[in-house]
């Protein structure tokens, strides 16, 4: 689509970096233009009109003007600041992780409305979540789905044969679960318990409301986290930086 000289868009602010004296470069995720970088002038000054409307993890309505390199934000109005999310350190951290994932997996100006909706819904979920981890797993599964990396959980990702109701194997390289026959030939596959498989299958095909009804004990949560983390690491060919911080927070909370 051709973008006019001045245009309006909804956006979720997923990243901010300082630029020069008092400006910032914002990374936005929008419904029609996908990821977008834009300049917010003067936003580090307290009297800036843009101010809190372009804070991280905020859903805003923006007016932008086409710039030579980057477009420039001329007006901003908050649609949802997700303040319950921002009053809680764990929730903020989950929100920052989600933002980093979106930023890492997307290129600029490629529309992906389903991904925008998922991100928005996830921020809503995190604002009320008692269990942020569940929201993160649901988000990861659906993010991968919307980007064409939907993990194959219904049958063996290699030979297509039905999976037995036992502990199977998950292969990041094959993008899904492997039967035992195929798993033997895949040196880096990891085991996937039947419970984990069931939960992943359910989450892959349900909405947040249904996903929230699943109770996972800490052992199962950890397994799900590890499977997803390995798969994401394989796809990005690097670790997601925010995971260190999430791990640290979790560890320190458990020590108390």
């Amino acid at each position: 689509m051709t973008v006019p000289r001045v245009y309006q868009t909804e956006a979720i602010i997923i990243k901010r970096t300082k630029l020069g004296e008092a400006d910032r470069i914002l990374t936005l995720y929008t419904p029609d233009l996908g990821k977008l970088k834009a300049v917010a002038k003067g936003t580090r000054r307290p009297k800036s009109k843009l101010g809190g409307h372009v804070e991280l993890l905020t859903h805003s309505l923006l007016m932008l003007a086409r710039g030579r390199n980057l477009d420039i934000i001329t007006q901003a109005q908050t649609i949802n600041s997700f303040s319950p999310l921002k009053d809680d350190l764990e929730r903020i951290s989950c929100g920052l992780y989600v933002s980093e994932l979106v930023d890492s997996f997307t290129a600029e100006r490629i529309e992906n409305r389903r991904l925008f909706n998922l991100l928005l819904e996830t921020l809503h979920q995190l604002s009320q979540a008692k269990n942020g981890e569940l929201a993160l797993r649901y988000f990861e599964l659906h993010l991968l789905d919307h980007l064409g990396y939907r993990p194959q959980l219904q049958r063996c990702a290699s030979c297509g044969s039905p999976l037995q109701p036992v502990t199977n194997l998950f292969s990041s390289g094959q993008g899904g679960v492997l039967c035992h026959e195929c798993g033997y030939q895949e040196p880096i596959a990891r085991s996937l318990s039947l419970n984990a498989l069931k939960v992943l299958r359910l989450w892959q095909n349900c909405d947040y409301a249904t996903a929230n009804r699943v109770n996972t004990n800490s052992e199962l949560s950890l397994e799900l986290e590890q499977v997803m983390r390995e798969y994401i690491r394989y796809l990005l060919e690097r670790q997601v930086k925010s995971t260190d911080w999430l791990d640290k927070l979790k560890k320190e909370t458990h020590q108390k």
Binding site: E21, A22, P46, L50, L89, S93, S242
Partner: protein
């Protein structure tokens, strides 16, 4: 980066290139500055060179508060008139200036040298948090004022510090919300900042 609109002798080309690396200085300004110095008296150029070397040779971090200083401890930590029971925690050395201008904080400072920014790989280990906690060890400090910037990373860092300090039986306060969300302390005006200090709240 190459500067291609005027051929210059090697030393002047080098100076232009160095100026051009500075924030806010484009190739044209770099060229103007370089030629200005070329025509200026030798003393003027030497004074500038000396001032630049001095910030690297003579400045270091205060071993107590980690502010930038030319003597250790820094002028604030050395000042016997100040109240060592109150420590105001800021992100960067530059944040001390607006707080000092308000004359509302008679205590000491602690500079974190950053904020928690997970997506940039900056966690507590990358900041001067260990140093802050060891200052709180002596039992002398009764209040820690968290003056990180009023934006998401600043708030998250404040929340994290509050958690670490809470078990130590030290009062932890946060600058009042008079400061608009999203702005940086560095640019806050004296009146707003004074009010924010006076109205600081328990965390």
């Amino acid at each position: 980066m190459s500067i291609d609109f005027m051929p210059a002798a090697e030393p002047i080309a080098r100076l232009i290139e160095e100026f051009n690396k500075l924030p806010g200085i484009g190739p044209k300004s770099a060229q103007r500055l370089a030629y200005h110095l070329l025509q200026a008296p030798a003393e003027k150029a030497e004074a500038l060179a000396e001032a630049i070397t001095a910030i690297k040779e003579k400045l270091s971090l205060c071993s107590i508060c980690l502010n930038i200083t030319d003597s250790d401890p820094c002028i604030i930590c050395r000042d016997g008139e100040r109240d060592p029971s109150k420590i105001c925690v800021v992100e960067e050395p530059i944040d001390i200036l607006p707080l000092e201008r308000t004359r509302k904080h008679a205590g000491l400072y602690h500079v974190l040298h950053g904020v928690i920014a997970p997506a940039d790989g900056i966690g507590p280990e990358e900041l001067k948090i260990k140093e802050l906690l060891s200052r709180l060890d002596g039992g002398l400090v009764t209040e820690v004022i968290l003056a990180t910037n009023p934006n998401l990373e600043g708030e998250a860092t404040a929340m994290y510090l509050q958690r670490l300090i809470a078990p130590l039986d030290i009062r932890v306060t946060r600058l009042a919300r008079g400061l608009p969300f999203g702005g940086d302390l560095e640019y806050a005006d004296d009146v707003t900042l004074s009010r924010a200090l006076e109205g600081r709240q328990e965390m």
